[in-house]
Amino acid sequence: MGVRKRSLGFTAVLAASGLALAACGQSSGGGGDTIELTIAQNAIAGGKNAAAAEFIANWVIPKFEEAQKAKGKDVKVKFVPSGVDDEQYKTKLSLDLKSGKGADVIDIDGIWAGEFAQAGYIKPLSELVGPEADSWDGWQQIPEAVQGMATYEGKKYALPVGTDGRVLYFSKPVFAKAGLPADWQPKSWQEVLDAGAKLKAAGVPVPIQINAGTAMGEATSMQGVLPLLAGAGGEVQKDGKWTGASQPLKDALGLYQKIYGGGLGDPRLQQDAKGRDKSFQRFAEGEVGILMEGDYFWRGVVNPKDGIAKMDDRDQSVGYALIPAIEPGKGIRGQDFVSMSGGALRTVNPHSKHPKEAFELLAFTLSPEALKEEAKNGSVRVTPRTDVNKELLAGDPLLTFISEKVLPLTAYRPPVAVYPQVSVALQEATSAVVGGTTPDQAAADYQKKLEGIVGGAGNIAS
């Protein structure tokens, strides 16, 4: 008796706690006929990507609500800010999407599309929204390669927010000190090393900054090992086979060895948890000669208006050059110069209660009108749309350079779910070389890890 009574009491309490806990869950959706939408980005007013956050809050939301009102719909939109490392943003987003939460419209990095799609965190737009997703008029303006970023296994999962490209930046005043030209354009890796040697002789603390190691995460892959691999004629994955300890990989790691083993780079900066930001700061302070980066560096780092390492004289002091192949004609597709591109995607949360309206908001943020408006406050970037780019980029020499000179010769990462794990293995290989391991050994270790990641040696071409 007693036992039964007690267990009954216990069950009652457990059930009550459960109810109380359930009541703590988030609730969304509005009362009445109001449609409430949320839009999230890794951007926050006064912090990371501040301009984007302010643009959404001050222009997109009022304009969109107004346009919906004109159609007789009462729509309220809220911006959900974040201002964290990309890795943390990815984790937060994954957990949100896993548990059926998150904003209605979300931004993701293009390279997450595969793993998010496989996990069921994002769904093909046409399934969620209907045929209007595929018939969106913007698609005609978006180049095939850029559309590819938003496509997984033949289905479109998102709209591309833009694309980018990588170049070699250099500091003109520092170059002048070392007797190097202001219109520098190296034609081979050796010419980069030669410039590095001259900068070193002139007392520049960090002659060359090419990201290495695991601390910088994907920045090491995109602004380091992948452009070098492409420059040596290699790709991380080709025709369904992954590249193992191949000659191009050994060449790329060999350049790391020459830079970091030869005193042309600062190995410590590569190990520092805040190394990438510190390298930006040091470039702005005139302590770095050459730095490989994406156009984000120009737009978001040394931007005289709102960069995180502002350079008031950016337009006069910061030079840029194409990334050369190891030797002319030895890059991928027989190119003289190479680059890598990525970009963000914006999509509709599969858990959205109002997918159609969410898609309208999504498409609105990528309308010519919105893209042009966003560029007005100085935050010009390469948009996904060729019709808008022509007009927008004319005022910005670097972005024009990216869209006209870099994008035609660029390469994209393989849009597959295991890529991020492969990328970490590549970062570890660069880290080993900077730490003194030989390129051959690091490449062999990479191949061993790769076998574990991609399901055996059968999927690797070496």
Binding site: G2, R6, F10, V13, T214, D272, G435
Partner: protein, 308 residues
Amino acid sequence: MAQATSLPDTTEEQPARRYSEDAAGLGRLRAGAFTAPALALIAVFLVFPALWVLYLGITNYRLTGIAAADPKVVGIDNFLTALANPRFWNSTWLTVEFVAGSAVIGQAVLGFTIAWVLRDRRGPLRRIVEGIVILAWILPSAVVAFLWVALLDPRDGTLNAVLGLTDFAWLLDHPMLSIIVFNIWRGTAFSMMLYAAALGNVPPSHLESARLAGASNWQQLRDVVFPHIRGHVLTNLLLISLWTFNDFSPFMLTAGGPDGKSEVLAVHVYNEAVRNGSLGYGAAISTIILLINLVVAVFYLRLLRSKR
């Protein structure tokens, strides 16, 4: 590890009445009702998550990709992977170093020393020292970590400026030393307060007789003070060892870097589970950590119970 204790039966304090089955049943029900909320909380926030981690440890669950949508049970694969992973062993040894250096040697010895030196003092010096030590302890660890990152910065850090060093990169060249010093600074207060209280229990007459018998300071400590505070010492060592073992704050200083040189187990789990998305593997390592914790706890408790 948590033991459920039932409340003392208060029925006996009731006005005298005949003890009956019914009353006993009611008493039990009442006791059950009082303890149930606590038990429910323990179940929801401790037991269930722990069981969940045990389960995750035998799956290939990941944060994203196929294994997020459709995780498979893989048995002891994750454990075998961990045991074959040099990074896991590296983390294990670093954790031993971290616990031995910052908790057992650092916090306990320093805490005792401060308590011993201040035991008979009154006045401003004692208040200042205690204030500094306790302030370090009550500040949130995230705040303290940011403070230390700024302190240890090789170029603009206060510490290098004070010591006259230029470009001595604490966190990059001596990451373990940095997190050990940080943890000693942060955690000494607990040991100090515990020993201060314990030393108050040592009868002054015993110390007095020892002094009269010509015992040196060290002999007084060894033969008079320590036997009195043995239980406190072991309890203190157990608690700070377990806290340090599971401490995640080194992440805020070094994130386990450079290249895993300060990746203690708690940080290793985070890096694997959260940054690389291998949740199943991370859960397996968490299970291993739990086992190690149990061994450490049992070891100390045995010591505590022996020769009582």
